[in-house]
Symmetry: C2
Subunit: 326 residues, 2 copies
């Protein structure tokens, strides 16, 4: 199953709606609308059918996944009765990021920059966190953050958590996984280089636009150990890799992420960049106006255009060290 989120017009303006995606018919089905019809056909009053359908299929994938297995069961029930060919044509869809994660992490689980990598990269699967308020969806413009002189993409697989979990092991880890999506971890290289000297990790170098989409594909549809991953800039192939080259497996990522810490439904975990999956590793840079398209076979294509640089509206005044005379 492929689940996306789209905007649809209503009396109070556009509202987010969950859809199932059907590339074979070139359509999406609005799950709440289909559920409403199904309930009315089964004898519900139109008013109650709207309420029940909205509770079953809210506009938030996180809320839907918080329903537990009931969400997938309800979606399966809708799809047994509905005809995808009668859905909304893909050409008319206004996409949102398919997920609205309460937590957004990014691991470092592929082989990259090996010669200069610190020892700890080989000892545990490291990760950092990204501000989920900066997530953008398919087609949305990427912020070029203030002070950035070198914007880059990163080609990653995004893991979408379906069930609450804690202290997973590689044997149990897959139970927590709902599906995957394409994850473009846009990065401001010069900001990162500067702030990472402070040992507190990425902040302004990552927290401006993380692109996710176009939809989430459930794990039953894919072999996660063999997905071809490619990146195109203005239509030219820049990066090509495969999810099979992970140094830390998906099961190890989920186990480490959940060690003494909860995983919650709807949260998203990036694998880190596949080898060669960024401009930095190729000695190439993005420019304002460039279009970046990431593709993962069996998952989908995520395309975003880079915006104009944000002006520097305020710059901190450096402090002196006490007694350092600098």
């Amino acid at each position: 199953m492929k689940i996306g989120r789209v905007l649809r017009d209503g009396p109070d303006g556009p509202v987010p709606r969950l859809v199932s995606v059907h590339p074979e018919t070139g359509t999406v089905l609005d799950l709440a609308a289909e559920e409403r019809r199904r309930l009315i056909d089964a004898g519900a009053s139109p008013r109650r059918a709207v309420r029940l359908a909205a509770a079953q299929f809210p506009g938030s994938l996180t809320e839907a996944l918080e329903s537990g297995p009931a969400f997938r069961e309800a979606a399966d029930r809708v799809l047994r009765d509905a005809d995808p060919a009668l859905g909304i044509p893909l050409s008319e869809v206004r996409w949102l990021a398919p997920v609205d994660p309460p937590v957004l992490r990014d691991f470092n689980a592929f082989k990259n920059h090996e010669a200069t990598a610190p020892d700890v990269w080989f000892e545990v699967p490291l990760f950092f966190k990204i501000n989920p308020s900066t997530i953008v969806g398919p087609g949305e413009r990427i912020v070029w953050p203030a002070g950035c002189e070198h914007l880059d993409y990163e080609l990653e697989l995004g893991l979408v958590i379906g069930s609450p979990a804690r202290d997973l092991t590689p044997q149990t880890a897959r139970t927590a996984l709902f599906g995957v999506t394409v994850f473009d971890d846009f990065s401001a290289r010069n900001l990162l280089r500067h702030e990472m000297e402070g040992r507190l990790g990425p902040a302004k170098g990552k927290d401006f636009s993380t692109a996710l989409g176009p939809w989430v594909v459930t794990v039953d549809e894919l072999d996660l150990t063999d997905l071809t991953m490619t990146a195109y800039v203005n239509g030219e192939e820049w990066s090509r890799g495969n999810s099979g080259s992970l140094v830390w497996s998906i099961e190890e990522i989920l186990s480490y992420a959940s060690r003494s810490e909860p995983l919650v439904p709807g949260e998203v975990i990036g694998t880190g960049t596949v080898a060669g999956g960024s401009g930095w590793e190729l000695g190439r840079r993005l420019e304002p106006g460039d279009t970046v398209r990431l593709e993962i076979d069996g998952v989908g294509r995520l395309e975003n255009t880079v915006g104009a640089p944000d002006p520097v509206r305020w710059q901190p005044t450096p402090r002196k060290r006490a007694g350092a005379g600098r």
Copy 2:
């Protein structure tokens, strides 16, 4: 105004409720219950009054703050009519963390460890992010994470964002701030030391329990540049500092946090540890069962007890570097 969150019993089990806190009468007022009464007195039907009151005062402070100025206005209206002396005695209250932030950041804005600090600490106000799923409230037990050999507290001021903002400057920054709370950034020192060598910042060393509370005090009640901050372990004073010793001001913290990136209602930003505000800086360590009480004058007291160590249920197998023969 002081706003907290408490658990109250209902037919479906305990539910979170927003309260105003009245230390002078030793009570809290359940804001939705008071609003319901006010609406009924003004002629609303009991059923509609419940619905309207629940919409005005949800159990989430983030949702309440998303109402904009309407939230504070509604709370002021309730408090004009209500008698705090008739509220729920503090002794009967089951506290929750007062906030449920969608984003949790922590800055490094006090003077600490100056001799070994990297240059970048003096050039920009650095921050990292904490997993908000690990927040605990007053009285809740602190997780001792798997592999931790050195657990510590950090005495900090927590800034609670009230309004959406972006690209603030020190001149405009205060408009985004709703209030403050006590912020105990529990830290696993040995895990931090190890993972921070990887330059991706704190992860397992911070993401297990961050304590917030006991309530949020609105900024109109306080002089944020002169708050005495103290930490007690098992009743003994370990740390004492003052918010006036910030190297980066609250206005600078908010400006930097919002640079090319949104601030959203309900998010919480820690200042970082006041000088001498952790056991590490004093050469002292917490033990399982210790009680840590942080106090900020005019804000409140936040007390938590340290739990027993989590067992190591799974440990990653270190990888070899390609060709390194190690």
